[in-house]
């Protein structure tokens, strides 16, 4: 029984980790992206 619970817990962590990686890479807005290649950086002239 303990083996089953631990195995399910490990499996759950693995699935959550993969899901988090997918979300962070493709959808999260918290990425360091202040100098993207295509985005136009607006420079305000003094």
């Amino acid at each position: 029984m303990i083996q089953k619970i631990l195995a399910i817990a490990i499996l759950g962590v693995a699935v959550l980790y993969l899901g988090k990686q997918f979300y962070v890479r493709f959808f999260s807005k918290k990425t360091n992206c202040d100098s993207c290649a295509v985005s136009q950086i607006k420079v305000e002239k003094k």
Binding site: I2, Q3, K4, L6, A7, I10, L11, V13, A14, V15, Y17, L18, Q21, F22, R25, F26, T31, N32, C33, D34, S35, C36, A37, V38, S39, I41, V43, E44, K45, K46
Partner: protein, 649 residues
């Protein structure tokens, strides 16, 4: 205090950054390595300062995206990155060119430290920099000499930081305010004036240049020769791949055997159960699939680091530029494409140095075709599986030659696709590569160790976590099936093989195999099998192709997990032996030369990397480009793999 670390490309900024912060930012002696700012901390007299390593630029006036980062941060006082002070690293052996940018920073009125770096190179060139003379021209700058590459000058720079104070208003070129010059024509005039003024001060700040043929110049006559240059580069690559196969075999066998023994040992000490199966069939083979390739990854980066440290890689950039320009490609595409040999992500990011949007897009679109280090585990496993370990002409290892061929195929296809893309994406601007050849140096063992350690750490840690997680999920999908399907199929197979008089061990093997086919993963694999069959693959390869979309190297971990579940702990064999013994239902081997070569070709072309797609999406700010990239690379991979299988069958 927020301190900006600035300078021309290739002056050793990142080395100074590492020296002051103790970090291990990647350094190289060609431009485009740092394309985004990096932040670190350095302590001076118990006071912590924020050090920002900016991309190298020749002038404050931007011509590309990476240079815009510098301009935006320094000329906009409202910017979050606007620094309180600046450290400008200049190449002491090339003051005239370096002082242009320094004088612009000096005129921004920021408290500034001028680091005269690479003093050893200046001495070799018999150049003497007169610090007193320089101090007279820039009286409000704190000037220190350093040789950051060998760790000299850290204390001097830290001491200079502690002395930084408010400026009194002296300007090098008082007529203009660099932060306000926005029109390109005005920027050009201002730069010209500045150069003239620097030239007039040069006699007082450095000794006259004694021009003579240095050793580097003599060596360059051969290494960048229009014919010999390419031949030597090809030979060097060939030797590297030969070494990778020759030296990595022993530690790989050791690691492979150790993980098989570890699984066996865990199974013997732990009570039977789900967790034991998960560890012995999922986790241990998954980790083993990562660790086994450490020797090859380490060797590849060891040789690349030597080439980079000696200054040879800059010559490669130069000769590749010469090769690419007649094909109509942007000279600045060379660095992103060469960086992609290590990993496509920094390669794609270094495309920011390309000012023209369309040229940049073409470079981003073809960069993942260059064979990255993540392909090494897949290539080496498949080469060891289907290519005989024979010698050609008595000295050349056939396996190493095939590895070289796969790298060459990736490079040539990247160039070919770039040419094709140029027909569809018309560009207005012809970019050029500005490259300064560093003199040849004896590689620093410390830097080489750092590069190898960092790359191996990243491979094991970053890729390892994903491989491990996928192995665990795969194990679950391979160990369970819908309802009683697995059990019923297993019982049926047991009866059938028992009636045919097979031994107990053989029956267990067949039963495990039949159960695997009826598991969730087996059902999924069998569903996609018709699509991949024309390329010569079975459903197990199909499953690994899907999982390795996360990262190419996941292929090996997935195969290890699938075969571990299939073996059901009956036979303690390394993965390669299990794959070699794999048979189709008609008794023919799965991994023939045709199927193996087809799989290698598939991995040369396929966009099997979630992280790369994510970076392309981030860099292009659109889903369109990563989807187009995945589509064209997938189609190319499918048809090339199919054609290879047909040709070799």
């Amino acid at each position: 205090m927020k301190i900006a670390l600035l300078g021309n490309p290739n002056t050793g900024k990142s080395t100074v950054f590492n020296l002051l912060t103790g970090m291990r930012q990647h350094v190289a002696n060609f431009p485009g390595v740092t394309v985004d700012k990096k932040v670190g901390k350095c302590k001076v007299n118990d006071q912590e300062h924020e050090l920002i390593d900016f991309p190298g630029t020749y002038s404050i006036y931007p011509r590309s995206k990476d240079e815009e980062v510098v301009y935006h941060s320094l000329c906009d006082t409202e910017s979050a990155n606007y620094p309180d002070a600046a450290i400008v690293v200049v190449d002491a052996s090339n003051l005239e060119r370096n002082l242009l940018f320094f004088s612009q920073i000096y005129d921004l009125q920021l408290p500034v430290v001028l680091v005269l770096n690479m003093t050893d190179v200046a001495k070799k060139k018999q150049k003497v920099c007169r610090v007193e003379g320089l101090q007279k021209v820039f009286p409000e700058a704190i000037i220190v000499e350093a040789n950051a590459r060998v760790g000299i000058g850290k204390e001097r720079i830290l001491n200079a930081i502690s002395m930084l104070d408010k400026r009194e208003g002296h300007r090098f070129q008082p007529e203009t305010n660099v932060a306000e010059v926005d029109a390109i024509s005005r920027q050009e005039n201002e730069t010209e004036e500045r150069f003239k003024r620097i030239a007039s001060h040069l006699p007082s700040i450095e000794s006259p240049i004694i021009k003579k043929d240095s050793g580097s110049t003599k060596l360059d006559r051969i290494l960048v020769h229009p014919v010999w240059g390419y031949a030597i580069f090809a030979v060097i690559l060939l030797i590297i791949f030969q070494f990778i196969f020759a030296f990595a075999a022993i530690p790989m066998d050791l690691i492979d055997g150790s993980f098989a023994d570890l699984s066996d040992w865990i199974a013997s000490v732990m009570p039977e159960g789900v967790l034991t199966n998960l560890i012995t069939q999922g986790i241990v083979p998954g980790i083993g699939g990562v660790v086994i390739f450490i020797p090859q990854i380490a060797l590849l980066f060891f040789f690349l680091a030597i080439l980079e440290e000696t200054g040879y890689l800059s010559r490669v950039v130069f000769i590749m530029d010469r090769l690419m320009r007649p094909l109509g490609l942007n000279g600045k595409s060379v660095v992103p494409l060469l960086s992609s040999v290590a990993c496509a992500i920094p390669g794609i990011m270094s495309a920011r140095t390309i000012s023209d949007w369309k040229e940049r897009m073409i470079t981003i679109m073809v960069a993942p075709l260059m064979s990255c280090s993540a392909r090494i585990p897949v290539y080496t496993l498949l080469i060891a599986l289907v290519i005989p370990n024979e010698r050609l002409f008595g000295f050349m290892n056939l396996q190493g030659l095939v590895l070289f061929g796969l790298y060459a195929l990736g490079t040539l296809s990247a160039l070919a696709i770039a040419i094709i893309l140029k027909w569809f994406i018309k560009t207005k601007e012809k970019g050029f590569l500005m490259l300064e050849m560093p003199s040849y140096k004896v590689p620093s063992p410390r830097n080489i160790v750092i590069v190898v350690w960092e790359k191996v750490r990243l491979f094991v840690w970053d890729a390892g976590k994903i491989i491990l997680a996928i192995s665990i999920v795969l194990w679950a999908l391979a160990s369970y099936g819908p309802g009683n399907r697995m059990q019923e199929a297993g019982n049926k197979a047991h009866r059938m093989y028992a009636e045919q008089g097979y031994s107990e061990a053989e029956i267990n093997q067949h039963v495990a195999s039949v159960e695997l086919e009826n598991s969730y993963i087996g059902i999924m694999g069998k569903t996609i099998e018709p699509v991949i069959k024309p390329m010569g693959y079975d459903w197990k390869i199909g499953i690994s192709l899907i999982t390795s979309f996360a990262a190419r190297e996941v292929f090996v971990g997935s195969m290890a997990t699938i075969y571990a579940v299939q073996d059901d702990g009956e036979l303690n064999r390394p993965l390669i032996e299990k794959m070699r013994a794999e048979k189709r239902s008609d008794g023919t081997p799965v991994y023939t030369l045709a199927a193996g070569a087809s799989l290698m070709v598939f991995y040369v072309f396929a966009m099997q990397c979630m992280a790369t797609l994510a970076v392309v999406k981030r860099e292009t700010k659109s889903w369109k480009w990563p989807l187009i990239q995945m589509g064209y690379m997938g189609a190319l991979a499918y048809f090339a793999a199919w054609a290879t299988f047909i040709l070799l069958s």
